[in-house]
Amino acid sequence: MQQVFKRPQSLKDVQTHFCPGCHHGTIHRLVADAMDLHGVQERTIGVASVGCSVFLYGYFDIDVVEAPHGRAPAVATGVKRAKPDNFVFTYQGDGDLAAIGTAEIIHAANRGEDITVIFVNNTTYGMTGGQMAPTTLVGQKTSTSPYGRDKSKDGSPIRMAELMAQLGGVAYSARVAVDSPKHVLEAKKVIREAFGYQVQGRGFSFVEVLSACPTNWGMNPLKANARVGEEMIPYFQLGVFKKEEA
């Protein structure tokens, strides 16, 4: 019998702690797949952020440094500058990257640090219990926007992938989703490509992944998965926004 589906080598054989319907598991798998493809697992140093993604080291069989909230790109900068031959990526949520860590992500990107950033956007603070995030959609109710996000007071959701594409140091910036088999296959290709940029030493690469958070959205997994396509993708359009040619 032929084996057609197996766990990537970079992923540990453990049970997930993520909620039912959460997309972190899928995204972890795609990241592990890209590490395997490029054969970098043994020289990878992952940088974990604060949020649900902090348990990176519980899932990936790689060395990991845990960063303070929002600071993963600065920590990754220190790691990569000290060890330029290692493969270094951060894995950050939207509160971490697009609110408290805005300065760190902008400047690591602008310096063109040779790292890869996986940015998981689920429009909410997951671990702290569903508060309003910088990517929360206008009108979206959260535990700190009980009347819905008000554009006049809370501002508009930040489109990070497009913002990153404006910066000189960024070699690659894209947004993907994992809400359908088609999107998962596209995401796989994009993450592989982004990792390839670092493997070839071509500068900063950034992949935003739209993700569901059924628990904090107050939805069942199916409905949450559907919301990604119905509400998020129309605002956070999928695509590759920057791709520097060699």
Binding site: Q41, E42, R43, T44, I45, V47, A48, V54, Y57, D61, I62, D63, V64, V65, E66, A67, P68, R71, A74, V75, A76, T77, G78, V79, K80, R81, A82, K83, N86, F87, A103, E104, I106, H107, R111
Partner: protein, 386 residues
């Protein structure tokens, strides 16, 4: 006046220390090697001599000589210099670099050090080495750039959250800016902890002779915890999050035990004319230099006054101070603030001596002169038990 006696340096564990503080002792036969540099430059040179090749910082007065020197020198040594987007960025770059096992540092001044506290707490929690030079200035808030010692509490009592301590070294000369920077890197590696060098614009901006001799490095443990890419070996994780049952409590007790070892083994202090003193003057860093001259002047007047200088502020040299104070019966604490180290002095001497305090908060526009300190000494001496 002439200082009649060389300061006597007291190490709790002298044989194992890599620093050698009495600069004059080491001059014989080395005169040709003496340089004339600023304290800030000496610290930067010490870092290079310690093998530090990674610097991350953000400009702030009065410490910019340090990044300026290292931005020039590190590229020549195939090192990395990054002017970060913020102090927060810089301390986290240090965290990342240190996690890989290399020697790395940052430097700043008081307002910038406040911003770094988050990272220092994380480094203390994750037990990461790293050197932080704080050429402190006056506050609170934006304050001014005058020499100040108002960040003693912040430095020694755990400036960030979580009840940690880091070793704090207080140089009082250009030579010590160099020597204690070397020592700081050793302590950092030995105890897996951030270490702070706490100075001010006096020790940072003044120029003195420097003998840039690297001291013998202490025997240091292998960094078996450093991330390196797991290869075929086991995974390594550098973290400060402990959610398992009892994990965090055990971690905190372990950190506590480490601080106890530091208190036993790493105290450094300096004494001058204390043997027969009826009054012990004590102060750290720049003010101790002023006090040293004041003490010499007092001796010329026939007053039996001595100087006790803590070189390590954490661990605080409690035992040595208690001993000196016990002989004298009275201690005068002098600080460039309204009273911080005096609390540790009181805890150290207990009932063995009366403790009085003379403070000069920042912003007065001038430092106390030896003559002013002498005046305070005279007043306190009259009240000392005879």
């Amino acid at each position: 006046m002439i200082l009649t006696e060389q300061p006597r340096v007291r190490f709790e564990r002298a044989a194992e220390l890599s620093v050698h503080l009495a600069q004059q002792d080491s001059l014989e036969g080395q005169l040709s090697k003496r340089l004339f540099v600023k304290g800030n430059e000496a610290a930067a040179m010490g870092a290079v001599a310690a093998g530090c090749r990674y610097y991350f910082g953000y400009p702030i007065t009065p410490q910019s000589d340090i990044p300026e020197y290292l931005s020039r020198e590190l590229p020549k040594l195939k090192g990395e210099f990054i002017q970060a987007e913020s102090e927060i960025g810089a301390i986290n770059m240090l965290l990342g670099a240190s996690a890989t096992g290399v020697r790395a540092m940052t430097s700043s001044s008081s307002p910038g050090i406040s911003l770094k506290q988050e990272g220092i707490s994380y480094m203390a929690g994750a037990e990461l080495p790293g050197v932080i030079i704080n050429i402190s200035r006056s506050g609170p808030g934006l304050g001014g750039i005058d020499a100040s010692q108002s960040d003693y509490f912040q430095a020694v009592k755990g400036g960030g959250h979580g009840g940690y301590h880091i070793p704090v070294l207080a140089p009082n000369s250009v030579q010590e800016m160099y020597d204690l920077t070397l020592h700081a890197f050793d302590l950092a590696d030995l105890y897996r902890t951030p270490v702070m060098l706490l100075g001010d614009s006096v020790v940072g901006q003044m120029k003195e002779a420097l003998v840039p001799n690297p001291r013998p490095v202490r025997e240091l443990p292998e960094k078996e915890w450093a991330v390196r890419g797991k290869g075929s070996a086991g995974q390594r994780v550098v973290k400060s999050l402990f959610l398992g049952d009892g994990e965090l409590e055990a971690h905190n007790w372990r950190l506590h035990a480490k601080y106890q070892v530091m208190k036993e083994k790493e105290c450094i202090s300096e004494e001058f004319e204390t043997a027969d003193a009826k009054l012990i003057v004590t102060g750290f860093g720049s003010v101790s230099r002023i006090a040293q001259t004041a003490v010499a002047m007092a001796r010329e007047e026939g007053l039996k006054v001595g100087l006790f200088r803590p070189v390590t502020l954490f661990p605080f040299p409690e035992k040595a101070l208690a001993e000196a104070a016990g002989h004298a019966g009275r201690v005068l604490v002098i600080e460039l603030n309204t009273g911080q180290m005096v609390e540790d002095v009181r805890l150290s001497v207990g009932a063995r001596a009366q403790v009085s305090f003379y403070g000069r908060p920042p912003g007065a526009g001038s430092l106390p002169s030896p003559e002013e300190i002498l005046d305070v000494i005279r007043k306190n001496y009259d009240q000392a038990p005879q």
